[in-house]
């Protein structure tokens, strides 16, 4: 005697984004703190020392913010014009910044006045950075040159004039005191060695280079320019490794996260994308309100700082354990684990005789009623389930089962005003869901057939019927529009698809061309 097979509730695939480990990780940030600056924020640089303060360059100032402060802890305002590229030294003591007025200023983080000023560039200096030797400064400017300066005696050490356009990004090696990279609007990125007078490596990005990033191992360099992010293998003489095209506007900033496991890119299209650095697939995406110019990530991904063109600095802090603890306290206390395993982990002794108890199979209420062929009650039970949990799958599965048994009409008939109202509201709510349309159309037709004589007797039911009519009118309109769009698309596809001619076989038996069907990814897993 087989047992009753319960009604199978169809599981439909979840649409939308898949929840991965990465989404969970990158969603685990608090609501952003927003700070208004005076102008577009062009650079964000984190201090390498704890507490990781960060320098925000916007307009004519460089602000230094503490890790959790909403007010700048320090401000450098001694700029004549727009400041660029405020960067910390590796010990966090000094800060360098370029300026529109071609002077490069060096600040002591604890001081206020510039302790050194490097003059020599003829145009705005967009790039300034310390080399790993700590006493040298790299600057690059719109006058197509880049220079190395000595801090103690404020002297220019080297001058390279190899680029043919503005140099807007540059980065120094953390491992070698003499190496540095520059990227320019002439689409090139170049590797310079301070010991020689020329660049030692040149790579062509293909677009004006906006940002550069070195991997901690310094075997790879990432460049951003135009819509592309490109990764170059330095150990193979600057071979392009991968080219990413995930933004639809210019990529402006790059950043590494999770100890070099993730790469973040920010763009004018208001998105920040997170890539996995092993396969360079996008694993997460952040949306912002305005075009992003600069991006910074605190060590350990503690906070994400984004600067935008409208001068808004957005800071997202990671949720701490305490934040999540608050929520668990609020939850209802559930019985302890011991309650559930009580007696279940008892190990029988050697002489014990084991009495096997038949496993009781639990059936849902509607299944119990279906087993007894109580079709109307089964439908009632399913509708009750719907009104409590709002899971449309259950009533639809029961209606399908009733239809299969040929008793749907019996189940729908003989309802009073209240029950009919509930049925109709269910149909109205789910009719246009394409997963349920087929069966619910049948149901709606049956309902109309059965109750057509009672139309006009109840205001409640009439209102539902009017809603149904409205819904159907709207739906047909949509469908018509969609068909029109489909027709247009067909024409486009037909003109774009190459027509394939099959080579006639030797005997010439076959003739005619075949149109290969397009690849169509389809449907769902169970």
């Amino acid at each position: 005697m087989a047992s009753f097979k319960p009604t199978r509730i169809q599981v439909y695939p979840k649409l939308g984004e898949k929840v991965t480990q990465d989404t969970l990780y990158w969603k685990n940030y608090k609501a952003p703190v927003q700070i208004k600056e005076f102008g577009a924020i062009t650079n964000i640089d984190f201090s390498p020392l704890a507490p990781h303060t960060y320098a925000v360059t916007a307009s004519t100032r460089v602000h230094i913010y503490g890790p959790f402060s909403q007010e700048p802890v320090k401000t450098f305002t001694r700029f004549k014009d727009t400041a660029y590229c405020g960067r910390f030294r590796s010990d966090g003591q000094l800060l360098v910044a370029g300026c529109e007025d071609s002077a490069v200023r060096l600040f002591d983080v604890s001081g206020r006045v510039a302790i050194r000023m490097f003059k020599g560039h003829t145009k705005a200096v967009h790039v300034a950075d310390f080399t790993s030797a700590r006493y040298h400064i790299l600057t690059a400017s719109d006058d197509y040159t880049c220079r190395l300066w000595d801090i103690p005696n404020c002297a220019e050490l080297n001058l390279y004039k190899e680029h043919a356009d503005y140099i807007r990004c540059g980065i120094t090696s953390k491992l070698n005191r003499d190496l540095f990279f520059t990227g320019s609007y002439d689409h090139k990125l170049k590797l310079f060695d301070a010991r020689v007078k020329k660049s030692v490596m040149t790579m062509d990005h293909g677009q004006p280079v906006e940002s550069l990033l070195l991997y901690p191992s310094e075997g790879l360099i990432v460049s951003a320019g135009g819509r592309y992010v490109k990764v170059w293998d330095l150990l193979k003489g600057g071979q392009p490794l991968v080219s990413l095209k995930n933004h639809h506007k210019t990529v402006t900033s790059l950043c590494l996260g999770s100890n070099g496991q993730r790469l973040l890119s920010a763009s004018l299209d208001r998105h920040v994308k997170v890539y996995n650095t092993t396969n360079y697939k996008v694993v997460h995406n952040f949306d912002y309100a305005a075009s992003i110019l600069s991006l910074g990530l605190a060590p350990g991904d503690e906070s994400i700082v984004v600067g935008m063109t409208n001068g808004i600095l957005s800071i997202k802090h990671k949720k701490t354990a305490e934040d999540s603890k608050d929520r668990t306290v609020r939850q209802k206390r559930q019985p302890s684990y011991r309650v559930f395993v009580k007696g279940k982990n008892y190990v029988p002794k050697q002489d014990d005789y084991l009495v096997s108890k038949p496993v009781k199979d639990y059936l849902a209420k509607y299944d119990k009623l279906l087993r007894k062929f109580n079709v109307s009650k089964a439908l009632d039970a399913a509708m009750e389930h719907w009104s409590r949990f709002r899971k449309s799958e259950v009533p639809v599965a029961v209606i399908k089962e009733l239809d299969r048994r040929g008793t749907l009409k019996n189940a729908l008939a003989g309802r009073d005003e209240k029950e009919l109202n509930q049925l109709l509201s269910f149909v109205v709510a789910n009719l246009i869901d394409s997963r349920f349309t087929a069966i619910l159309t049948t149901t709606a037709e049956m309902l109309l057939d059965i109750y057509q004589s009672t139309v006009g007797m109840s205001a409640l039911v009439d209102r539902q019927l009017l809603r149904l009519q409205e819904l159907l009118d709207k739906e047909t309109e949509y469908q018509q529009e969609l068909m029109e769009v489909l027709g247009m698309l067909d024409v486009l596809f037909a003109s774009n698809l190459p027509r394939k001619e099959v080579a006639p076989p030797g005997s010439g038996l076959a003739k005619g061309a075949a149109v290969a069907g397009s690849r169509q990814p389809q449907i769902q897993a169970s």
Binding site: M1, K5, R8, R404, R405, P505, S507, L509, A514, Q522
Partner: protein, 815 residues
Amino acid sequence: MVPHADPRVVQRGGSKINFREPVITKDSRFLICASGEYIKVFSTSTEECIHHLEGHTDRVTGLVLNPSNHLQVYSCSEDGTVRLWDFTDGILIRVLTTSNRPVVGLKSEPMLVSLTLPPSVNRNMKVSELSVLIGKVSPDPKCIAIGREGDYIASVKDNVLNVYFLKKKESYRFSLNNVGVKKARNVFNCVACHPKEDCIATGHGDGRIRLWRNFNRKKEYIYSTVHWHHSGVFALCFTPEGTNLLSGGLESVLVQWRYDQEGQRDFLPRLGSAITDITVSPDGSLFCTSHTDNKITVIQNGSMVSAIIQGLVHEDSVKTALMVDPRTKALVLNGKPGHLQFYSLQQDKQLYNLDIVQQEFINQSNLDQFEVVKAALDSCGDWLATVEQRNAKELEINLKLWAFNQQAQSFVLNTTIAAPHDDGITEICFSPSGQTTTTLVTVSLDRHFKVWQLTQPDPADDEEPSWSCDFVGAYHSLVPKCCCFSADGSLLAVSFQEVVTVWSPASWDLLTTLSQPPGVIQNLCFGRLKCAKYLLGSNDQNLLCCWNLLTCSLEWSTSLDVSLLLADPLSENVAAFCGTTKSTDLFVFVPSEPRPLFSQRALCSGQVTRAVFSAREDPLDSCQESSRWLNHSQLYFLTHNMDLLTFLTKTEEERLIASSKQQTIDDSVAMTPFYLLLGKHRKQQQEDQDILSSQSGERTLLPQGSVAIKELLHTPAHVLPAVSMLCSMFVSSLLLSASHSREEMQPPEEEMESEKEEDDSEEEEEKKETEAGHFISSSASRAGGPVLTKTQQTELRRVKKLDYNWICEIKDSTP
């Protein structure tokens, strides 16, 4: 061709066991049922088939226990004979030839009564003497019942109940009104008589059961009606004491009515499928229900299903192709509604049923149910694809993919694809394995074929791999019909009406098209092994074409009305079943050779639409030209009336006969394989023990072997030392005992001699002993140390010779 060397078409396995109601033996241990030309004896406890009674040359139509000897059974057959069998030993005792007419039913009472097909109904007292009891009876034995103590015979037909009193030699007719819409359904379906009282129960087409009383007078009969079944009652049976009435029908619910308290009913629901027969064991403890799906259910104490004997399910038509599961070597085809059955042909037993639809089956006629219409197994048996379909107002199709689960040793649902095509799926096939990806192709009437591929998910998220659509192909919006992969999986051929298109599975490019007008392609198959370059196709214009794929040209074509084309996976052979609706011919050929290897005209009546090559476990080495094609694989095919036939070669037949001789071991105990293993051993031990007890003097010379063996077998395996250590000891012990065992062999040999001979030998021995006086040293080695006297010796021998089987009988019957 030598006629005797020809492979013979036989029915092997999968015959019906529910054709007539089974018989339960008096001790309720065996169940005897008719199965085609054979009678099968099953054990009610182990479901094992114990005996296979062969003898009838046509369908067996009735079985009944011999009332005078409950160890014998009568059977009747359409070949016109009634045979008496000893079912415990499987021996044919007597053959009674009635007439030329086929006997269709058999009921028994003190005298043997047989009723044959209308128009003449015969009673068979002696073999030759026949007399008509009741004219015009229904050919179904359910419509005839014998009343209390054989006083009367009740028979029903259409809407008439006929009661014939044997003593008075009178018959009464009671008819029901069948005018009107509702009344038209109340024809009689079955009849049963109360064993103790004058009461006849009849089951009707409208679900009612009528209990007739007082029918020994023409006018004053009365009947009462009870009603539970919603459709016709097909089976009725009283328990031996007459306390309960059992009824069954389409609902597959066994209903127990209390006699005299018809309001009280017990139900045993969900027995699987419609009940056709109900039998009760003579002691009333076991019920047996036969079902339409070739199943016999044994029910204990009226409430618990204790055993299910399941034969090959014969539905009206097999929608899926016949397949062979590579793992179990079982035949896979449609089973119960919504199921696939795995049927082992070697053991002639259903292995398991796979529930495809996973929905409660509603036993109700004219209801649109989901049906499994297509199924395919990939070549290593890891994946199963099924298509289920329901033809309601709108066509509902589900494509399901099942993965083989090693732990559960069964298929587990992996992916369900709802509405894979807009219209019915006509063909489904897997790409051959040996490739990195598994691919499934479905061909549909919606003018497309789709390719489904297993996609591995990211290793990061812990999801199982699932199937998704990879490619949708079409050709000039023609309707495709067949598809076929080449043996190495490098080509896919899909037929679009008259045109065969060849696609490359690597890129899904259309490589070439082949056509041989006119005619719509009906069958398509690639050659194997050396003939892999050939593609065979047959069309509806009775043309069999063979294309060479290297030149893309037609190699040959012949006029042949092919209904089924099948390639043997293990050889180059291709089998073509050709034929009209009347009879089918079989041709087996190699595509590269002009002459067929084998051909048989008029293979069977009707069209063959399903066939399969099943690989043999041990290849035959027949050199006969006509049977060489059967060396590696066996060809099974389903005929028009759902009989599963195969070819039996000469060598195989000999092997079978040899094995059946080996198996004839007479014992009253159920002959299960387990018993064969253990029982023999135990018997041997018992004999050893007997000899030991008689040879008490020889204890010092005990064969060490028996102790070692006993120790080895009785100690739990986990406490034994390593087998490598034991082995030498074990073998040496066996060697030592060899000299003794030869002597021990002798007593059973002697037992087999006839009584008289033994007497003679005893006399001889007596003579010898008188001659030799007290000097009996020669027999001392056998008789043991203390010298026995002559009388003692003969006594001992007699004791040894006694058959103790009767003790077993008592022991079994007492509890």
